[in-house]
Symmetry: C2
Subunit: 390 residues, 2 copies
DNA sequence: CATTAGTTAATCAGTCTGCCTATTAATTGA
DNA sequence: TCAATTAATAGGCAGACTGATTAACTAATG
């Protein structure tokens, strides 16, 4: 464990990076406001802001007015200090790629979707081309991008650098992520799509103020993301949240039943068929059931899902459980209430259950948010490590 | 989020607390060694150590010898800077209280057990008396204790300050913890006994180097502690790890079956009876089965436990699972192998499974360790906050 | 004219570099 | 074998340097 110790240089680096961090997450600030936040003196605050502006990290965005005395300058992080890109790689939903680009203040400058056919095109080529196009749309250049965050329907093992359990052609090749980073000359990070949806839920959804939450992703497959105070739990091999494998009942010698068999997309469609509902897709079936007020089907479904959620609650005791994914969204409050009822019979803790508050593409928003955070950390960290050449 | 900014005072505070922290977790150090660790210069290191000694936080414990040049002084944290007490409150095992006291370097100075009858004596009285006795044995005074850590067979909700789900008489009363802290004039912390066993497992057991692990406590009841990189996961209401409530199978309208029904102490005794084994206790039954090589019973038992472990693995994907508690200890490697075999059929991840490496009283050791950590944090933190009076 | 934003100057706290002295072990010489 | 010399290291001291602070000052605005 590295403990912080050093001389006055360290002090300056700390003060600058703290100030920049405040500009990032409190938005535009006057000198006085920054002074209050950091506890630094007036001349020091001036000096820090001068250095940040000289380094191109902060800019003056306006002046106060109204009160007596001179108008205070309002500073903000320079949006051109760096850009972040989020990419969502889709398995079932089309088009297969969704991208967005934002500046360091989080303003989305460009957004696009792109129907790449990975059966033919190399993933690296498709993503590189899409990002270049995105830059043109945003009026910037690829070399100004500081971080690219991918969201994939699979699990990523950072130790081997391979994306596993992914059904999109070409994406499971070893070295893909490194090659993409080389092509783009930018750090590329990968995460599971459900994890990124949880990031979006915290940033823009119902989990904004939660100490933590478990997000149950209910789509063709089942997924789970665990947020502990803003930090995602990924597990030893990126396998945390594979609740499809939660066993249901004792196996009697033969292969056991697990939650995927019970509440995966195919199981839901079978259940829908048994209730005389459309079977074009799990979400369609649920939407139709809700529209018709088909209680029985929804209750039966909720009871199955509740098994998984009960296991999660028993293990983690999260302050909140969020139901997300297209099936959960189709189910809405009706499904939520049914799940709550089913849970009450199973577990003694009455954990609040909520339906996702993110209506936009959660995976894409989450990826963008993750990328943005990485860009900010890079800039703040670079400032802290910078040893001023006397 | 408080960001660190300040002036040269902050620098001194940081350097001092960093140095003290190194003394705590690297043990005795020479000036030179500390210099290497902190990266500070010679005069500064000297100044820091002088201040720490003046404050009674560090002492000279010896001199180097052998090499050329003067003998370097060896500094260590002053053991008298503060003491920690760990207390284990027991439900089934007797005597009902176990205590230990250590100095700030972790040296255990006294240890005792005490057969308090909580049906008659007030918990506060019994604990206070036991701690006073412990101090006498250690040759110190109660007011030198900086932290008392209790381990209880129940869950503690820090927001309400009440211990719940505890069967020891008197211990579920509201305000008990605060009253105890008032009586002792010392901060008192409470944690679940299984959580503390996990702390001991990390400090002294098989999980020393693990990134994280799940500890399955297998005694009369079932418990689970989750360690994520040395940090325990407690859940929203202190209810994380109540795997007894993991549902097993769909409930068919009636009350559902959960893991406690399947693998709790009574279920184990029933299973033992069915296999013609002693039913004086779950641990006895397992010990007898292992002694006789009673495969069938152990396999059946392992299969039940595996259901719970599979759920934990599916949700968390821990790098390691540790089996602990008296039943697990009695089962030893035979039980472990049976569990591994049962898991292989259930989950695709082959998570390593180990039997606990703590032979001593894990709960007591864990409580002591927790208390020690709290004392050290207090001292380091006080140093950081101290504003030197010019 | 009162109030506030921001600068300038003087001071202070804390660390660093470089040099010095003291102490010890090893080596050399009688 | 014993004393003198030498090499190596621990630790202290002085002066320089960095960066923050306080307090006084200037300038802009209602």
């Amino acid at each position: 464990m590295e403990r912080l110790a050093g001389s006055s240089r360290l002090l300056r680096a700390m003060n600058e990076s703290a100030s920049l961090a405040y500009l990032f997450d409190r938005g535009p600030l006057t000198r006085g406001a920054l002074r209050e936040l950091t506890g630094l003196s007036k001349p020091t605050t001036s000096e820090v802001l001068r250095r940040l502006t000289d380094a191109g990290l902060a800019i003056v965005v306006g002046h106060t007015s109204g009160g007596p005395g001179p108008n205070a300058e309002i500073y903000a992080a320079n949006p051109e200090a760096g850009y972040a890109v989020g990419v969502s790689v889709r398995e079932t939903r089309l088009p297969s790629l969704a991208l967005a680009l934002c500046d360091v203040n989080g303003a989305v400058l460009a957004r696009s979707e792109c129907a790449a056919d990975f059966a033919r095109a190399e993933p690296e080529d498709a993503v590189t081309a899409a990002i270049e196009e995105l830059c043109t749309e945003a009026g910037t250049f690829p070399d100004r991008i500081r971080h690219v965050q991918l969201g994939v329907p699979g699990s990523y093992d950072p130790t081997t650098g391979v994306i596993r359990h992914i059904d999109v052609p070409g994406w499971n090749r070893p070295g893909l992520v490194d090659r993409l980073a080389d092509r783009l000359r930018v750090p590329v990070a990968v995460d599971n799509d459900v994890n990124l949806a949880a990031v979006a839920e915290r940033a823009h959804g119902v989990a904004a103020d939660a100490d933590g939450f478990a997000l149950v992703w209910f789509s063709f497959g089942l997924g789970l993301a665990i947020d502990l105070g803003g930090q995602l739990l990924r597990g030893a091999r990126g396998g945390a949240g594979e609740i499809g494998y939660v066993p249901v009942g004792l196996r009697g010698g033969g292969p056991g039943t697990d939650l995927h068999d019970l509440a995966g997309g195919q199981a839901v469609q079978a259940l829908a068929a048994a209730h005389g509902l459309p079977t074009t897709g799990a979400a369609d079936a649920v939407a139709a059931a809700v529209a018709r007020g088909a209680d029985e089907f929804v209750t039966a479904l909720a009871e199955r899902v509740a098994v998984g959620i009960a296991a999660v609650i028993a293990v983690l005791d999260p302050p909140l459980v969020v139901l997300a994914g297209d099936v959960a969204q189709a189910g809405g409050d009706m499904l939520r209430d049914a799940v709550v009822a089913a849970l009450r019979a199973t577990t003694p803790l009455d954990t609040p259950i909520a339906v996702t508050g993110v209506t936009d593409d959660a995976v894409l928003l989450g990826a963008l948010d993750c990328g943005l955070r990485a860009v900010r950390d890079t800039l703040v960290g670079a400032l802290r490590d910078a040893i001023p050449t006397s």
